[in-house]
Amino acid sequence: MPDLIQFREAAYRVNGRVLLGPLSLSVCQGDRVVLLGKSGAGKTTALRLINALLLPSTGEVLVSGRSTRDWDRVRLRRSIGYVIQEIGLFPHLSVERNVGLVPRLERWPAARVRERVAELLRLVGLPPGDFARRLPHELSGGQRQRVGVARALAADPPILLCDEPFGAVDPLARQELQVEFKTLAERLGKTIVFVTHDVREAVALASRIALLDQGRLVFAGTVEEFNLTPDPQVTALRGLL
């Protein structure tokens, strides 16, 4: 499998403070890589280096073999779905318009956008007849998160970046979302990079886990390897399962 995303000694610093040390990590097509770590470990920084919301201070990040520095950023980002914890739904736009935004920016014909939005809402378990016209504030936290996922999938991007997408959802809804998300991810065959500080969530969703601590990569491997490695930091985390 070709490497779809590749960190090559990519580091990110602000005013001399290291947020992410030189990181080397490859993500193959179809992988579900979970970046695991405490807050401040550099997970979000790593994620934002992929869609060029940040550019590495040194080293480089390649997406589809091309450095994020050389990508047209708008093109790059439109080929990557992005879900964040606060979701960032546009409060003044209906669910339908939120989900259909990128297809509209990409100038899809209106009928195709409508069709795609309905398809996506069904995919994330929100009947379009009930939900398409609602405004974000008329949804529950879990429903909003589903809309966030649908929106990220709208233009059928090969890559999906998720930054603690279920962090603000209550535990019951959270587990349900995790299961559905995994099924969906496997079915759609997306390459996913998923940030979380929750070990259970990591083990539940990942095909591979990368453990970060204070900006450094401590461990990277499959879930099986994560379960077997004698690495003390990983063992400590396994104790939380």
Binding site: L53, V74, G88, H92
Partner: protein, 211 residues
């Protein structure tokens, strides 16, 4: 002579003055929006400019209006006697609410919404038009409303430097010590301010996405 009789007898002149007054306010408010809104946007992009620019606009606002009109008269090109000088003074007065509200409106957009917009691949212009300006619209419109209402009131002073408008009657009334004449200028000015306030308030509510 009673107020109503005076208005009736001078209705033609009063109408001309009212139209003049609306013209003064419309032109100055239009210019103030054309300058103030982009200036406010610029401040959100260059936070370092915020303190000096808002400070300057604040200072302008504290100059007594009659004095500001007076100060402008001797200035070459923009000054002199007449409507042009009055319009410039009104534009200067409208700056503060417009710059401040545009800045505040955009700065208070939820950072997560902005992050999502950029992450989804919106260009800077799309983030501004589709997200920031749309979400800030009620706040910006509130600034426009303040500027317009302020302009209607301060516009009466334009007459002091030959700028015309409803102030003509007020200054004439003051000189004649005749409150009927003062009222003939003041009542229509107050009505204009109320109408502008009400109309813009309605528009503001229509643009409010929170409702």
């Amino acid at each position: 002579m009673s107020f109503f009789r005076y208005v009736l007898l001078n209705r033609a002149e009063l109408l001309t003055s009212t139209v003049e007054h609306i013209g003064l306010v419309a032109v100055s408010s239009g210019l103030a929006i054309l300058i103030g809104v982009p200036a406010g946007i610029l401040l959100t992009r260059n936070p370092r400019l915020r303190a000096p620019v808002l400070g300057l606009a604040n200072v302008v606002q504290t100059i007594p209006s009659l004095a500001l009109f007076g100060f402008l008269i001797p200035i070459p090109f923009i000054g002199g006697i007449g409507a042009r000088t009055a319009i410039i003074a009104l534009v200067l007065y409208g700056m503060l609410p417009l710059i401040r509200n545009t800045y505040t409106g955009i700065a208070s957009v939820d950072p997560a919404v902005r992050e999502a917009a950029r992450g989804m691949g919106m260009t800077d212009a799309q983030v501004l038009w589709i997200v920031e300006l749309r979400l800030a619209a009620p706040v910006i419109l509130a600034g426009i409303r303040i500027a317009v209402v302020l302009g209607v009131g301060i516009g009466t002073i334009a007459a002091a430097i030959g700028g015309g408008g409803l102030g003509e009657f007020i200054f004439r009334g003051v000189a004649m010590v005749n409150s009927a004449v003062i009222l003939a200028g003041a009542v229509p000015a107050a009505l204009l301010a109320l109408i502008a306030d009400g109309g813009l308030h309605l528009l503001e509510r229509r643009l409010d996405w929170r409702r």
